[in-house]
Symmetry: C2
Subunit: 702 residues, 2 copies
Amino acid sequence: MHSYSSLEALFEPASIAIIGATSDPADPGSIVAANLLNSGYKGKIFPVNAEGEEVLGIKAFSSISMIPRFTDLAVICLSPAEVLGAVEMLAELPVRAAIVTSSGFGETGREGYMLEQHLAKMAKNTGMIILGPNCLGLMNPSLALNASLSVDYTKKGNIAFFSQSGALCNTALDWANSEGVGFSKFISLGNKAVLSESTMLRYLANDPDTKVIVGYCETLEDGQDFLRVAYDTTCKKPVILLRAGGTSSGAKAASAHSGALTGATCAYNAAFRQAGVLQAVDIEDMFNLAHAFSCQPLPNGPSVAIVTNSGGPGIIAADMCEKGSLTVSCPSNSTIDEMKSFLKPYASLYNPVDMIGDATAETYAKTLKAVIEDDVFDSVLVILTPVAKVAAEVEKVAEVILAAAQSSPKPIVACFMGGHSVSGARALLRDGGIPCYDFPEAAVRSLDALTHCHRWQSKDWPIEVCFRRDIAKAQSIVANSRRIGLMELVELDAQYLASAYELPVPETVLARTSNQAAKAAKRIGYPVVLKIASPQISRKDELGLIATNLNTPQELRRAFLEITSRAARRCKDAYITGCLVQAMGPKDSHEVVISFRRDAQFGPLISFSLGGIHADMLGDVSSRLAPLALNDAQEMIREVKAYPILRGARAGTAIDLGCLEDILLMVSQMASDLPEIQEAEFSPVIAGPDGAVVANMRMTIG
Amino acid sequence: MHSYSSLEALFEPASIAIIGATSDPADPGSIVAANLLNSGYKGKIFPVNAEGEEVLGIKAFSSISMIPRFTDLAVICLSPAEVLGAVEMLAELPVRAAIVTSSGFGETGREGYMLEQHLAKMAKNTGMIILGPNCLGLMNPSLALNASLSVDYTKKGNIAFFSQSGALCNTALDWANSEGVGFSKFISLGNKAVLSESTMLRYLANDPDTKVIVGYCETLEDGQDFLRVAYDTTCKKPVILLRAGGTSSGAKAASAHSGALTGATCAYNAAFRQAGVLQAVDIEDMFNLAHAFSCQPLPNGPSVAIVTNSGGPGIIAADMCEKGSLTVSCPSNSTIDEMKSFLKPYASLYNPVDMIGDATAETYAKTLKAVIEDDVFDSVLVILTPVAKVAAEVEKVAEVILAAAQSSPKPIVACFMGGHSVSGARALLRDGGIPCYDFPEAAVRSLDALTHCHRWQSKDWPIEVCFRRDIAKAQSIVANSRRIGLMELVELDAQYLASAYELPVPETVLARTSNQAAKAAKRIGYPVVLKIASPQISRKDELGLIATNLNTPQELRRAFLEITSRAARRCKDAYITGCLVQAMGPKDSHEVVISFRRDAQFGPLISFSLGGIHADMLGDVSSRLAPLALNDAQEMIREVKAYPILRGARAGTAIDLGCLEDILLMVSQMASDLPEIQEAEFSPVIAGPDGAVVANMRMTIG
């Protein structure tokens, strides 16, 4: 794990060796050398090539061993076969960090993959920091440093950008240069053999030059680490990520691209949400958000004032606000009175404030002042269509907005609709730090993201919960079942394990005969449930091997006979232990399902839904990654659409939600404690007004 | 209703009078005159002003009465108070069509609204065609006609555009001019006192210059007419509409904007869907789709070949395809073999075809040829990132794509990522008729829309169904209930009405005493249902006034006593007629809900869902506007998420879907026949494997 200071050699090198820089300007090494010189980098540059021939007027070394010791950074531009040898020599000097631009590693198949594994191992053994392979390098405009293959350079700004895909790096540079935006750090991650998104977040969270972190990723290998680092980072500054490879076609393509397997989208979405990462919906959205966060403050709440000189775009903006989490409230009475004094009688004073076509730059100035000073509003969206009088003074409106922003603590974004006629004004706004969009939708989306970030950063601390539990007992149950070769715990063992976590399980007795069953039922108290007991039978419900609501010994005995003979018929090879006699769940109850499975990248993913068709058919499921905090559990229950049922909607029963929250938290604890349990399903959990029981459960051993 | 030929005076005038054109270049009338002259209009121009002073070198008339008779078109640029008088004089001449640019009508409040009503009436009485008021006018580049207030003109193209909002008109012109796109017709509808979206669709459907119709709307006043016209139009050419005002904030804003009430979004969505209208998600989407349809053929199916020189954007594109309705299939074996012969070993040959960074223009040419000729693919998306070798020949790649498109019947769209470095190539593609987007998401969206349009245009004819019914009987039931002042039909009457439509209702008998009830139950056959009968009690279920599954006379008598005494207690003012004895619905059944309500704009909106929480809580409802065709009914049932339940999922019963389709069609027929029924709910409809019965129903009289 690399700390902030340890990455200094990479981002703030005092000296850089370029391995493979020749006099041929088409060689990658020579391109890097030229980029370093052209960007105005002030540190020392040491080209290395076998012939020791001069590169761009700089004396070159003919061997890596000749480079000064403790050189900070080496950029390696060799064929893949030569890379490992070079890294070994560099480590001996030592050189502290390296960028491997060469391709031909994990992205090319098995042989390349093995090469990459070697590289990672070497980094681990020597402590050398390695970016790449198969990457473009990086830029740090604070040091006028362009240690990359990209001829396009960037000006200094406060956006840090990293990307797994080199193509997206180029796109980001192109966008930034045409929009006049700059970067604080610009990083092409490539195959991420050593340095990953998590390492970058850890560094950039503490980078004083960086206000907002933006990235493109396909896979995150170290999910749980990412989750922690991203959470810590988003509490300080916004993190915007675009993730590709979320559908099966995309995942197939991503796997062909970098040789990586993409994890389940559900787990990624949960991770981003729990870590407070803003997920960009597409490339354009990523850039739009980056720009908004780079130059605007966060609003204190969701209330947006929309100021426009045309109705249609105002309506579109109001629609978009409501589709997001923003509100379009009425101005205060005093603001309305004030606006009445200078707006035309046909103007709409409410919100959107439609100043109608007669509006001039002066009208904009007065209206902006009025809404900025109105405590009702947390942020302002200014829309302009170049019609009527204002067409001649579009740039003056831009200046009016910039002046208003000077004295406003509230974020302001603009939308100037149109092409050539407003391009000058757009540039003015952009250069003055006001994001100006072509269409209202993107402007509202930015305000929505800013608002979300404020809500996230001002949230309460999560309440961590630790339950009493008997881990040793739980582990021994799992170990025993493993030893006798079971892939799934038998129900009674699963119950014992659940009890070790103090999960509420119904009283259950194994009965080998109907007589024993009747005796057990008498003790437990009617009505009871009867289920087949067999280590080989898992889906009892589907096979008709459960009888519920048995009220008398007669009913119980009949059910015992039916179930055991049906099991003998339907599951010929199963060893039938007998039947379980179980207390019924609470009356006036609802059935819910709580489960977890292990995601390859992120670990245990806990899910919650109502029973029956709610999960698989209706998709009404909420998910979070373990470990859950109390607020996670609360959100999970309230997030499903069917939640009102649990609150007693439709004259039904309102159940004990606290009890369900506890079960979710205990299950999360269990998933974290016992990695041997691959999957678990608690279904149904029968929840009533005074508590819940886990009536049935299945646990698969990995 | 205006036919195609009747709008000729508006769109193809041989002579135009400008009412209110003075020598002051700031006067709207003078702006229109200057626009007409500057656009190169060849017809006659007659300025009119009170002083009779010359306008831009053209002799003016001092009174409307002096204009030559049978002048085609008048553009009225007067104050609102003067408009009606002018229209009256114009009608006397007669002048066949008028454009009223003046604002100060319905958008300004009650007085303006009355003025607008007068204008509409005048148009109706005189047969004059009137565009506006409160509009910018129109353009017809075929005639070099700019009869509008907009100084920006458009070149000739094949996109027709109309908009309720003037601001959106300006935005569209700006967009078109900066993208080099042209319009066939360009229309600002304004307040739509006379000419509406439907009139425009009717005209543009037959306009040989128009290939694709694009519009922005907030409200559609003549919903059912729109539905018919739009359906007929979309069978001939694509119609793309952006609708604003769909959320309550947006609707509030729209209502302040044009004084119109926006209808329920649900009805609009149903209307657009049933009419085959493509709904744009935002302004940018509207323009992107317009451009794609204007220059590309429709694909024959959903299979897209993605050709790229960089992995990331290819993954994003594949993701987007799957999120839409497109497929990313493997190329055929022969194509794979062919590509192997010229692509690098690390290239990904499957789909996306990632030619990797080494690709040159020549690689693009060969790969494009291979996938175009492969029968597996219906359309092609070409992605370029300006990296490595291809950076120097980006424009050559554009030429390669244009050449490939020449000989390809399949649609091709491009995505060139980046800023300045690819702008020349983008312009080349655009001018050559290949849409080129900045980001892959928009490119895929366009292919998705083209594919959808092909599917729509090649769909089967809808199967119209007409059921036997006794309208006279139904009408007399409604009339009788109205006469005695009921707002809701009593249950037995509702049943009689349902029977008149041959809806399957359970046998039902009104029993005034428990003796009568027992006699009725004996005839019907146990088990039976017992319900309170009272004209004042409507929500029987919620009040506990229904008992089901009564198996014996004892149970029946007890239930009779309970229900009637509970009703007497809980509904003190209700007149209790007795109880209804009803046959039970089929066993092994599922409950569904079928209902309709009248939308202000579109008329009856039929809804379908499963019973219980599915409709209001889970929102799992499908809706269509009446009249339903058979395929509509089939789609409605299959569209809800819970559909698998009706097919017998989870070891449940598979029910008779045909019977449900019939009920939907009969309900649609009822809604169309009987406008007096404001709302009706058939809930539950109990559907079993061999038929269904409508067990309960409520009908509200308007």
